[in-house]
């Protein structure tokens, strides 16, 4: 996981109207600013410089190599897939969570939050146990006689998409849920009373109120997916390689120049996605702030 989205979100956020200007209190933010700038901006600049050390050779290599290109395309493809699957799962989940009351709401929220509190690594390994050729799923199906050969559940795009969806789902659910909670409850009844059948009231009145949450969730999950490392490393094998993993591999092979170049390519695409996305939603909302 990279720190890029959050940091980018903070720096791009528009200043709120009517707030006090910088004064003595601003000093309180200095440690945080130093921490973010020092540990983020400096390394990024170093990476940028490293990638152009000795000219633009690395970039030429990137442009010419079909291998890296394929990995970049695959990275985008998997990120898009994960985002779509997350959205399809998250919207109804968040809808139910915002509608039910009391105990059920608590249960649904805990189901979202507890995995977030568990390390990605632990969860990835847990999923490995589930998906392996000799894992729970394949063994059960085989002992039932449903299949004779283990299903290819691991070391491929499916495994990576599955694992990342599992891990990133909360990042889709929470922004959508937080917007759904703010939708005024009388809007749908008003639409019904004006003659809208329930499905039109839902699509034309309810859904538009939740779009900012959807865009937030989509941006968050897509950007996080682009830079994902842990899941592809553990579940991807040779089949589900993503760019972050290639960067680490290059770095391990001491090809820091090329690793930096790929990192810059990732950063650039992430920035573009955020820039385009921020035309539709205020980045402040993504991290839970309100106008």
């Amino acid at each position: 996981m990279t720190s890029a989205p959050t940091a980018a979100a903070t720096t791009t956020a528009r200043p709120a109207r009517g707030r006090r200007g910088l004064d003595g209190w601003a000093l309180a933010a200095v440690p945080g600013v130093l921490f973010l700038l020092g540990l983020f901006a400096y390394p990024i600049v170093r990476v940028l410089l490293r990638s152009v050390e000795g000219g633009t050779g690395n970039y030429v290599r990137l442009a010419e190599s079909t291998g890296f290109g394929k990995i970049l395309v695959q990275t985008f493809w998997i990120a898009a897939l994960v985002t779509v699957v997350c959205l399809l799962l998250a919207y109804p989940y968040a809808l139910v969570m915002s509608r039910v009351g009391g105990l059920w709401q608590t249960v649904l929220i805990i189901l979202v939050l507890v995995p977030v509190w568990t390390a990605f690594l632990v969860r990835s390994i847990g999923m490995q146990v589930l998906l392996m050729d000799t894992g729970v799923i394949n063994r059960t199906l085989m002992s039932l006689g449903a299949i004779s050969e283990p299903l290819p559940l691991i070391r491929n795009t499916f495994a990576v998409t599955f694992g990342m969806t599992q891990i990133l789902l909360p990042f889709m659910i929470l922004p959508i849920y937080s917007v759904m909670r703010r939708v005024r409850p009388e809007l749908v009844p008003a639409a019904l009373s004006l003659g809208a059948p329930p499905w039109r009231a839902f699509l034309q009145v309810y859904v538009p109120q939740t779009l900012s949450g959807v865009v937030s969730g989509v941006l968050l999950v897509f950007v996080l997916s682009l830079g994902f490392f842990v899941v592809p490393a553990i579940l991807g094998g040779t089949g589900g390689t993503m760019i972050a993993r290639s960067i680490v591999e290059l770095a391990n092979r001491n090809d820091l120049g090329m690793a930096s170049t790929l990192a810059v390519a990732l950063l650039a695409t992430t920035t573009i996605v955020l820039a385009v996305g921020s035309r539709f939603v205020r980045l402040n909302d993504v991290i839970g702030g309100r106008r």
Binding site: E186, L194, G195
Partner: protein, 370 residues
């Protein structure tokens, strides 16, 4: 009542858990009539409205509109316009798009939608705001958009649940006039929920007084004020003096701590016998203070305080053995140089006193009216 009522609610009930939100409510509304629901908080006004709108299913009873049984018709097919307290405008649509929404749902032709929307917006004096988003309008303007949206499709009934509740007093009065002007000129049958007695009096053809899930009495404002059917209605509508006692005979006389007093019996008194708890209701403006030696129906008392209010003054008097009474009088009339401590006699015409069943302690259960 006539069988030709336009909107008929018959014996409708709704319970939540063990508590009855609405308990056997029946009501007939004529076409084009403006009826208000007035009553304390939690008395079932909104629940009744929601059953008419179709958002809440009654446990029992039927609702008919223009001779069609509505009970099982879903809300979007009822053709009933609603104005909510919080406006419920669609924030992602412009003012004009909001008003066009019900017409679009009815697949009205685009050119006609345009004409009807601009006519409706002109009616509520918001033609210049057509392309604004609702959130950029003031509360009063937003409520006028909501009103335009609710009448533009010519609903058969217009329901309004405290539509002016969120607005300040001055704005409310202007809008009260605007609303009745529109509903009357379009001939829309309207049910209007309010907490505000003055609002109900100013706007309605008839007022239904709600208490504890039931309609206590329905009638014109004047009926309710002058001929209250129960102690609850009497004390809920306007200020009143309540003198407790028990029935003597059936002509409306009651025995009180200060002797027997006569009153005009409310219809419910007829079937009750001697000794039943009852009380006499006298409005403050119907009491005159005279010299103690003078006769007439009334009681001896002592002036407690005088509050001058310009056009009128409120005099508080204490009746020994009975407690305080409030008298509203024209400052230029009555006894000259009235002062606290003075002994006077409070009198009224027997026809201005109403005898009602019940004891005023029952009043404690209902929130005091302000």
């Amino acid at each position: 009542m006539s069988a030709s009522a336009f909107l008929e609610i018959f014996d409708v009930s709704k319970s939540y858990g063990t508590s009855k939100a609405v308990d056997s409510v029946s009501l007939q509304v004529q076409e084009g009539e403006f009826v208000s629901f007035l009553g304390p908080s939690g008395s079932g006004k909104t629940t009744t409205l929601q059953m008419i709108a179709g958002f809440v299913q009654p446990d029992a009873g039927t609702i008919r509109l223009g001779n069609r049984d509505l009970t099982t018709v879903p809300p979007h097919k009822r053709d009933i316009g609603i104005v909510f307290q919080n406006y419920a405008l669609f924030p992602h649509l412009t003012v004009a798009q909001n008003v066009a929404f019900p017409l679009k749902m009815r697949r009205v032709a685009a050119s006609e939608i345009k004409a009807r929307v601009s006519r409706a917006l002109e009616r509520v004096r918001l033609a210049d705001f057509a392309d604004r988003k609702p959130t950029t309008l003031s509360g009063g303007q937003q409520q006028r958009v909501a009103l335009a949206r609710a009448f533009v499709f010519e609903p058969r009934v217009l329901l309004m649940d405290e539509p002016l509740g969120a607005l300040d007093k001055k704005l409310r009065e202007g809008l009260q006039y605007e609303i009745t002007e529109i509903t009357h000129s379009l001939g829309i049958t309207t049910i209007y929920v309010t907490h505000d007695q003055d609002e109900a009096l100013a706007m309605s053809d008839r007022i239904a007084i709600y208490n504890d899930g039931a309609i206590e009495q329905i009638g014109t404002g004047r009926d309710l004020y002058e001929k209250p059917a129960s102690l609850f209605v009497a004390t809920f509508m306007g200020d009143s003096n309540v003198i407790p006692g028990s029935l003597v005979g059936t002509d409306g006389a009651i025995a009180t701590a200060v002797g027997q007093l006569d009153g005009r019996p409310a219809p419910s008194v007829a079937g009750s016998g001697d000794g039943v708890d009852a009380c006499l209701l006298v409005r403050p403006e119907n009491i005159a203070l005279v010299a103690p030696a003078k006769g007439g129906v009334g009681v001896e008392c002592t002036v407690e305080s005088i509050v001058y209010l310009g056009a009128s003054q409120r005099v508080r008097v204490t009746v020994p053995g009975l407690g305080p009474l409030t008298v509203a009088q024209d400052p230029s009339e009555g006894l000259a140089d009235l002062h606290p401590g003075q002994r006077v006699r409070a009198t009224w015409r027997p026809t201005d006193a109403v005898t009602l069943l019940g004891s005023p302690k029952a009043r404690d259960r209902t929130p005091a009216h302000v």
